[in-house]
């Protein structure tokens, strides 16, 4: 069908145009799908992409929705850059929330200012531990990390389910699978702008998320560790010759990305829910994979990518309310967008010749 040859150099225009072209093509597909289903495409597009941006409080909520995607997405960018496939961020996010929740629920009467920082640290440890398992198995036994991290996601979500229905269920929840509310000291407050007050649901976690993205960007650009990450992803051979320890880098990356996912879980619960329940994440761990690719594996670009995916999610809600378009359509959009981004990745890496392939013996 096609014949791919490796490019020696990637033209700069491709690097910038791939995400933009993918987004535009996804919108075109969207128009097509809407008209096939008999919806007014103009109205549908308005509710998807404009309506969530039409008021300042909605824009604030966009940042809130993007918050977990940014934090998890940044961690995944680091892993994917190093060619490590942590697919279990969803499970690590849940374990982070569980660890932090355990602490908050153990001190129901505290008003210590140290509770939130301690929860953040514990959530990082919880998520990190859950990522440590596939990491150590990969490093020691060369067990496939994709499958292990994926399986552990289901175990984590069942573990949370058991906790909130069993030992951690609140005695005052009337049998509903909910824990007690966290003490106020364990909640993340909304940002109070002087003279304006709060805007939408905008909370301090969003600030942390953007900070995390920028820190990771700095780390990738300016530190030896960042250099190691890029090197191990580009060439294993060069990495080993340079004397770095590949196992150690793999472990570090897994723990960092798992820890960040855990932190995202803690922030999500402390800022938006205030207690543990069976579902605390709506596939953020999986959606963040799209975010990572949309950002072309650049931590700073994760901020924009997270916002865009959040826009699609919020657009799905607003289109469902206004036009009764089923919410699942966001899945179609996200899937198509990811397909196109991945195809774009190929365009930047390979040259595509459509001419029939000559049978050639490979020379390696």
């Amino acid at each position: 069908m096609f014949h791919l040859t490796l490019r020696k150099e990637t033209p700069l225009i491709f690097k910038v145009s791939v995400p933009i072209a993918s987004i535009l093509l996804t919108i075109l597909f969207g128009i097509f799908i809407f008209s096939v289903l008999g919806y007014d495409s103009g109205k549908a597009l308005y509710h998807f992409f404009i309506s969530p941006l039409s008021r300042i409080d909605r824009i604030a909520d966009l940042f809130v929705k993007a918050c977990p995607l940014m934090i998890v997405g940044t961690g995944l960018v680091l892993c994917f850059r190093a060619n490590i496939w942590n697919i279990g961020a969803e499970g690590q996010l849940i374990m982070g929330a569980v660890f932090a929740g355990g602490l908050a629920l153990s001190f129901p009467d505290t008003n210590s200012v140290w509770l939130l920082p301690a929860m953040a640290v514990l959530s990082f440890i919880g998520g990190g531990l859950w990522a440590f398992l596939p990491a150590i198995l990969k490093v020691r036994l060369r067990t496939n990390e994709i499958l292990v991290s994926l399986m552990l996601t289901y175990v984590a979500s069942l573990f949370l389910d058991w906790l909130v229905r069993g030992p951690w269920r609140s005695p005052t929840s009337f049998g509903f699978p909910l824990t007690n509310y966290y003490p106020d000291a364990g909640l993340i407050s909304k940002i109070n702008f002087p003279g304006i007050g709060t805007i939408g649901q905008l909370h301090w976690g969003v600030f942390i998320a953007i900070l995390v993205c920028l820190l990771c960007w700095f780390m990738m650009q300016k530190t030896v560790f960042g250099f190691q990450v890029k090197l191990v992803g580009d060439s294993h051979k060069a990495f080993r010759y340079s004397g770095f320890n590949e196992s150690k880098t793999t472990m570090m990356l897994f723990i960092i990305s798992g820890g960040l996912a855990g932190l995202a879980g803690m922030i999500e619960v402390s800022a938006n829910i205030g207690q543990l329940q069976p579902n605390i994440s709506f596939g953020y761990g999986f959606t963040a994979i799209i975010v990572a690719f949309l950002a072309r594996l650049n931590p700073a670009a994760v901020i924009l990518a997270g916002l865009l995916i959040a826009l699609i999610e919020m657009g799905g809600d607003s289109a469902q309310i206004a036009l009764a378009i089923p919410k699942v359509v966001t899945g179609v959009f996200k899937g198509i967008l990811l397909f196109l981004l991945l195809a774009g990745e190929t365009l930047t890496k390979y040259q595509i010749n459509v001419k029939p392939r000559q049978r050639s013996v490979p020379n390696d």
Partner: protein, 302 residues
């Protein structure tokens, strides 16, 4: 009572066997398709829609198989044609298939069809000991035959050998003059057809209605099952029955008020899969290892 339990276990295992057998062939050719869940859902919704529209279960099954193949072809276009990352493309396929099936199925929610009939006359079910095994439908019996045929194909035919070679050492297969891409295309399409059939089994047999995301994680269990079976077809059947038993035990246990948390039972298939993965990777016996070129894109000019 016991018979009814066995029958439920067997019927729960059928979609797992079908999807996992397809995926096994795909993975043996060196491709990891994480989009099983998406392909199964597309198969399920198409099978339900066409059975509902035509009243013919045969057309429904066929629709499931075809739409599974079409969904797999999308995957093949990106992964084989454009050499995209297999893990991410598979996830995209799951996200896409879950969304599209929900969209197509939104007008079928709450509607009902009559499911597949049993292959043998009803009173065969009363035969002691083997009654449950004789009250299944044609797809269930076919699934066992398909597993056997896949085993014959993979290990007793030359084409099967070429397929396995493409999964273990793609460039060696290429140097010998075999078209790795063509082999993988066939495998991916076969995997899609099987996933589509597996998905079709859910609304046509297990629960005769359509609901959004009705596979409820069976695609992932099937993926786990391939690993659990260490890429050997026959073990898929034992594995599927084991996983099916665990699923049913958990429901039966709840009804009888067992003290084991049902979540613990539900997590057993995943834990067992991790355990098997660890055992096979530490033993390192080549026969039971994952195909070594799994997830490696094929670039002929490399």
């Amino acid at each position: 009572m016991i018979d009814a339990l066995i029958l439920t276990i067997l019927m729960t295992s059928v979609p797992l066997v079908l999807a996992a057998t397809g995926e096994l062939v795909v993975e043996r050719s060196g491709v990891l398709n994480l989009g099983l869940e998406g392909m199964m859902l597309m198969g399920a919704v198409s099978a339900f829609a066409l059975t509902y529209a035509t009243g013919s279960l045969f057309i429904g099954l066929l629709a499931g198989i075809i739409s599974g193949a079409i969904t797999a072809a999308i995957f093949g276009f990106f992964v084989l044609g454009l050499a995209t990352n297999q893990v991410a493309t598979g996830l995209a396929l799951t996200i896409f298939g879950t969304g599209l099936s929900g969209l197509i199925g939104s007008e079928f929610v709450g509607k009902a069809i009559t499911g597949l009939p049993t292959l043998f006359p009803k009173h065969f079910a009363d035969i002691p000991f083997i009654g449950a095994f004789l009250s299944l439908d044609i797809v269930a019996y076919s699934s066992v035959i398909i597993v056997f045929l896949v085993w014959v194909f993979l290990f007793k035919t030359k084409t099967g050998l070429i397929l396995r070679a493409s999964g273990i050492s793609q460039y060696s297969a290429h140097s010998l003059g075999y078209s790795v891409l063509k082999v993988r295309w066939c495998a991916v399409l076969f995997g899609g057809m099987m996933a589509g059939l597996s998905g079709a089994y859910l609304p046509l047999m297990l629960t005769p209605h359509w609901s959004e995301g009705m596979t409820s994680g069976r695609g992932w269990i099937a993926l786990a099952l391939v690993v659990f079976a260490s890429w050997m077809p026959s073990r898929i059947i034992y594995g599927a029955i084991l996983f099916g038993t665990i699923t049913i035990m958990q429901l039966a246990g709840q009804a009888r008020g067992w003290t084991i948390p049902p979540q613990f039972l539900s997590s057993l298939p995943y834990l067992a899969t991790i355990f098997v993965l660890v055992v096979i990777s530490s033993r390192g016996s080549a026969k039971y290892l994952a195909p070594s070129d799994l997830t490696q894109p094929f670039i002929s000019s490399k």
